[in-house]
Amino acid sequence: MKIFEIKNCKKCFNGIKVLDDVSFSVEEGEVVAIIGSSGSGKTTLLRICTFLEYMDNGEMTYLSDKIVSSVNDKAVYIGQNTLSLDALNKNKELTRIKSYFGLVFQNFNLFPHWTVLKNVMDAAVSVQKRDKDEVKEKAMFYLKKMGLENKSASYPCELSGGQQQRVAIARALCLEPKIIFFDEPTSALDPELTSEILKVIKELAKEKRTMVIVTHEMNFARDVADRVVFVDNGVVVEEGDAYELITNPQKERTKRFLQKYNE
């Protein structure tokens, strides 16, 4: 079953094309890694997938909900008639869809004034209106999974970067999303902390969670992802089985890009 699909996505910033024509889809239980050089538009792509940015043209579907259609070469979002961040922000139709996905940011973006437990629990209670006791049990379950059960009463500022990122992952999991997007979840972390996060994500992959991960860790992409999408200059240059693509890329640009990581 297809969980997510984006088609022919185009995005300009001030007349400069960032995404020219990007398409990819994610099947249930699949882990897709998005790779590409700096500035190639990976973050922009994830921001479009998670409604933090709008696309200029293209289509987007979550499960059976078509969120964006292309009409007269322009993106049309359900429930809004202008293409602007403000309209996106105010769009009530999108709120329901937001429960389908989670996003883990490069720099965590935890809420500093809340304890770890509240960070993990609150959206499930006050957005999804789920039962507080049930949510608390879930939250503790995920914190335990992240090795943080004894940190539930701490504040984010008392944690290491790696621990904060694990809280952010628990926060995403607690909402029971169908798909989780990760934007370079380890690039703000030291090498030791990086491996602890990658280990956690690997665990999630083993559980067959549907995930899309933007990463610069090629070994991780090769070993953990099912599929890799290589984006360059706003287009998908090559896409395929993770192990195949990384060990034996077909396109010249992909080869050149991967070469840099082998030096």
């Binding site: 709120t95 937001k98 429960s99 720099n107 809420f111 500093p112 004034h113 609150d122 006050s126 957005v127």
Partner: protein, 217 residues
Amino acid sequence: MINLNSIIIQVLGGAGASLLIFFSTLVISLPLGLLMAFPRMSKIKPINYIFGFVISLLRGTPLMLQLIVWYYGPYYIFGATLGLSWRVPAIIIGFSINYAAYFAEIFRSGIQSIPVGQYEAASVLGYSRTQTFFKIVFPQMLKRVIPPVTNEIITLVKDTSLAFVITYSEMFTVAKQIAAAKTTIVPLFVAGSFYYIFNYLVAFVMEKVEKAFNYYK
């Protein structure tokens, strides 16, 4: 020989009026300032400009002048004879609106200093705009505005003496009258000491408030 005790008692007699100005202004101007901060940040340009202009006017002209306008304005503009009963309301309105302008700017910069990542995380988690403000932005803003708000409150304590321009007998006016009658500056020092003591208390309370927010960075 002037009796210090009697001076203290007389000066304190004016303290009630000063405290009335102080607390009324605080209670009104803090929420009013928050309400004014929003149109000040409005994306609708005319609203943004109008509030920006009003706030700069309130901050850019002497409070003393504003008090005179509030007190005598109704008479000169509308010919309304409100008399002495209008004096206390005029003072409280004048002070509250003036301080609200300062607080509005403090709240605005406090709100704008919240990193955009907080809004983005909230958006992805599905919080509504109202929830995002009250649960995430506002509490963090409070922590950030405590130091500048403390400064304003301390200034307010001293500014209460400006009510003298419309001959309201607050503490400083009373002290000046005694000083003139008895040809001594002692009452002024007594009044000065009271302002100082009061501000010491303000600083003490605000430090406690600041500490209460220290549980996170």
